[in-house]
């Protein structure tokens, strides 16, 4: 279970709140989509949740553990796919996976099994002896997804996971997401791909200018904004409306 409670963050040297009093709760067994325009605060929220950034105020909880109070316990329950393709460029793919397995304390048998299984599913197993620097964006993304699954985390957090993936890998990713949610685990991901969010998510949140402007299921969103509309149209309407309201100094939805 993941919970963000009234989280706010302003970056050093900026006077704009990247995240402004954000609250959301994701239950076990749920796939939760996080939508919003560029610069809305999605990555900042995920970074606060995974302990990469420190919130100015509010709490980020993972399975009841506050990330800022007991970061190691909280992070050991998370598998995270970041949006940074430049990380670990000096390592070979197998060295990177082995390093992650060491950090999460996986025994030799577990790491063999999971690395073989997931790297085969994402079709990068035969490339594991290569350096990450030689990997394409899509291959790096596959590798980071494999690495995030190694500890078999209760909470899977993914920042723009579809970037660079070929259709087969995207399909594999979506089915793993569904399987994990069905087995009672939490999946929390940000995306710009509306079709994926529409088809996959049990619940979604739309964020704009650091504030949540909608939270609920797609069906609830449709009821609120009108039936027979795609998520893409609803998203555009909502973000535009909230932008205007914020521009007028009024409160958003």
């Amino acid at each position: 279970m993941i919970e963000l409670i009234a989280v706010s963050k302003t970056y050093a040297g900026s006077n704009i709140k990247a995240v402004d009093g954000l609250s959301l709760k994701i239950s076990d067994g749920e796939i939760f989509g996080f939508l919003g325009p560029n610069g809305a605060g999605k990555t900042t929220s995920l970074k606060i949740l995974t302990g990469v950034l420190k919130a100015d105020s509010g709490q980020a909880m993972v399975d009841g553990t506050d990330v800022s109070l007991d970061p190691i316990a909280a992070k050991s329950r998370i598998g995270y796919v970041s949006d940074n393709p430049e990380a670990f460029a000096k390592l070979k793919a197998v060295e990177y996976l082995n390093f992650i397995a060491d950090v999460y304390g996986l025994d030799s048998e577990q790491r063999h099994k999971r690395i073989n299984d997931y790297s085969s599913r994402f079709e990068i197993r035969d490339a594991l002896s290569s350096s990450l620097a030689s990997f394409s964006r899509g291959m790096k993304q596959k590798l980071f997804i494999v690495a995030s699954l190694l500890p078999d985390p209760q909470n899977w957090v993914l920042d723009e996971p579809m970037v660079g993936l070929d259709p087969k890998a995207a399909f594999a990713l979506k089915s793993i997401m569904r399987n994990r949610a069905d087995s009672g685990k939490t999946v929390f991901f940000s995306t710009h791909v509306m079709e994926v969010a529409e088809r996959l998510c049990d619940k979604l949140a739309i964020i704009n200018k650091g504030k949540i402007i909608f939270i609920g299921s797609f069906q609830e969103l449709k009821k609120l904004e009108g039936e027979d509309t795609s998520l893409e149209t609803l998203f555009l309407e909502l973000t535009e409306k909230s932008g205007e309201l914020a521009g007028n100094g009024d409160a958003v939805l």
Binding site: Y11, K47, V94, N98, V103, R125, S130
Partner: protein, 560 residues
């Protein structure tokens, strides 16, 4: 032409990282202070080079004046500049051949190939022209002081200084472009860095040997004149073969005659012409050689290969070993880090050995040296050994750049369930490996030089290890407090990192104090070991828990 001017500006900004200095209006007080610090270091470097140029020119002038051939100073200066620019220009042109993928973006723009090469040529030329001008100004000042030449002499000198770097730089590209077009293995940033790094080190050693051999004869003008006389036939032959140097020399010898005007005009045409023709002739090949630069292909293993490979590689390690292993791999696989970090442990003793061998006779003949040797016999040699070991041990910059070098991985690292104190401790362990190596090398060399006994060598080694470890921890603390995280080129994390400069200067100051205190107060061996062996170890051990607490807090606060 606007696009060409913009391109030149872009290259110059990328080469020299001038933006923090240029945007003066945007500067905050901390940035102003930092810039002042950088300016101070730059001034120190300038003073160093100034001293080098003045010494070389004075030695050449005195040597030639003894033979009554002081007018040849400009021939020798012109040739020195040409050789220097060819070597350094070649290395600079090679290391800037491909700048971090910038070329990939430029290649898709509608820019004529000649613009790409000419802009890069100008950017490299600008630094070579500055060096050439500095050297020529020194030559002219020394000659002007002793000989009082006519004003036109200076005009031809300035003009020549600007023109001289052009042909050797054009020649560098004439070598480089075909080389890059043919040798595919060199079209890789890592190979280029390694190649230029090794070439640069060899050149530094070569220049050092030349400079030291010249300096060792400074006190003996007769030896200088013999040296100059021996090199004259080569210089005159070179002037006959290499027109720009010969033309400049002739123009400066008779500055007010009509011939000087003609010679300078001819030089202008020759140098500019060579550069322009080379640029246009090479532009197409240069652009083609940039295609696919730094591309790495993924190696695919067969099913049978994979089984053995994964079996061998996937083994469990304790987290601290996994972290140290990662530190070692990250450093060793980046040539910029390797050459400017651990390699110092080999390079510094090598340079010192060259200085010693070149100056050995002069050193032994100097009456002050006898006092040093006498002091060495009375236990001072152990202090030198400890200081040398501690300096080498702490001089690798590994601790002072530890967090800065990790800028690209840090966000991902922070998301892992890792004790950040352990993460930083792994960096300290990595640095300590080189503390150990540096201390061994430094102490062993000095011990051999002064024939120090085993017990004293061991005492020196313990002190070196203790002091270097203390310095290392301070350097790591500095980089934790002020890491340089916003870089695109690894050179910025290591070579252009102020933390590394501060750590080296701090180490020099501290070790200087140690040496002075040890001699001045004639501290006995047991006390030395207590003050400079046990005390730094205890101080480091006592500081470690505070550092850990600080590092954890600091890393949590870092906005990435």
């Amino acid at each position: 032409m606007k696009s060409f001017a913009s391109l030149v500006k872009l290259y110059i900004k990328s080469f020299y990282n001038l933006s923090p200095f240029l945007d003066l209006k945007k500067l905050k007080p901390a940035q102003v202070l930092k810039n002042l610090g950088i300016a101070l270091v730059a001034l120190l470097v300038l003073v160093n080079f100034g001293f080098l140029f003045v010494s070389v020119n004075l030695a050449m002038y005195w040597g030639l004046a003894m033979l009554g051939l002081q007018n040849l100073l400009f021939l020798v200066s012109s040739l020195t500049i040409t050789v220097f620019v060819f070597v350094i220009g070649f290395i600079t042109a090679l290391s800037t051949y491909y700048i971090n993928g910038m070329e990939n973006h430029l290649l898709v723009l509608p820019l004529a190939p000649w613009k790409l090469l000419a802009a890069k040529f100008i950017a490299v030329y600008s630094s070579m022209a500055a060096v050439s001008m500095a050297f020529m100004i020194t030559s002219m000042a020394i000659f002007g002081f002793y000989e009082g030449p006519k004003p036109l002499f200076y005009l031809w000198g300035f003009m020549g200084a600007l023109l001289l770097p052009m042909p050797p730089l054009a020649l560098s590209y004439l070598f480089l472009v075909p080389m890059m077009s043919v040798a595919g293995f060199l079209r890789n940033r890592r190979a280029v860095m390694l190649f230029t790094g090794v070439l640069g080190l060899l050149c530094a050693i070569g220049f050092n040997m030349y400079f030291q051999s010249l300096m060792s004869k400074m006190a003996d003008t007769e030896a200088l004149s013999v040296m100059m006389q021996n090199s004259l036939p080569l210089s005159i032959a070179a002037a006959g073969a290499y027109f720009p140097a010969g033309l400049l020399w002739k123009a400066m010898t008779v500055p007010e005659q009509a011939a000087a005007f003609i010679q300078s005009a001819a030089n202008l045409l020759l140098c500019l012409g060579t550069s322009i023709v080379s640029i246009f002739a090479l532009a197409g090949a240069y652009t083609r050689s940039l295609l696919g630069f730094n591309e790495e292909s993924v190696k695919r293993l067969s099913a049978s290969e994979l089984k053995g490979f994964l079996g061998k590689k996937l083994k469990r390690k304790p987290v601290i070993l996994a972290l140290v292993d990662r530190e070692i791999k990250n450093l060793n696989r980046e040539p910029v880090y390797l050459l400017n970090g651990p390699f110092v442990i080999i390079l510094l003793p090598l340079i010192m050995l060259i200085v010693f061998l070149a100056q050995k006779e002069a050193f032994l003949a100097d009456p002050d040296s006898a006092k040093i040797i006498e002091l060495a016999g009375s236990g001072f040699a152990m202090v030198i050994a400890a200081a040398a070991g501690a300096f080498l041990g702490s001089g690798s910059s590994i601790a002072a750049t530890a967090l800065s070098r990790d800028a690209k991985d840090l966000a991902s690292i922070k998301s892992l369930p890792l004790d950040m104190g352990l993460f930083m401790f792994a960096k300290l362990v990595h640095a300590e490996i080189f503390v150990l190596l540096g201390s061994i090398v430094g102490c062993a060399l000095v011990s051999l030089m002064f024939s120090i006994g085993f017990a004293d060598s061991l005492t020196a080694f313990i002190m070196a290890l203790a002091m270097a470890s203390f310095i290392n921890l301070a350097a790591l603390w500095l980089d934790t407090a002020r890491p340089k995280l916003g870089w695109t080129n690894p050179i910025a994390a290591m070579k252009q990192n102020m933390n590394s400069v501060i750590a080296i200067l701090g180490a020099m100051g501290l070790l200087g104090l140690f040496s002075v205190a040890a001699i001045k107060f004639d501290i006995e061996k047991g006390m030395l070991l207590l003050f400079f062996g046990l005390a730094p170890i205890l101080a480091s051990l006592a500081a470690l828990p505070f550092y850990k607490k600080y590092a954890v807090k600091r890393l949590a606060e870092l906005d990435l």
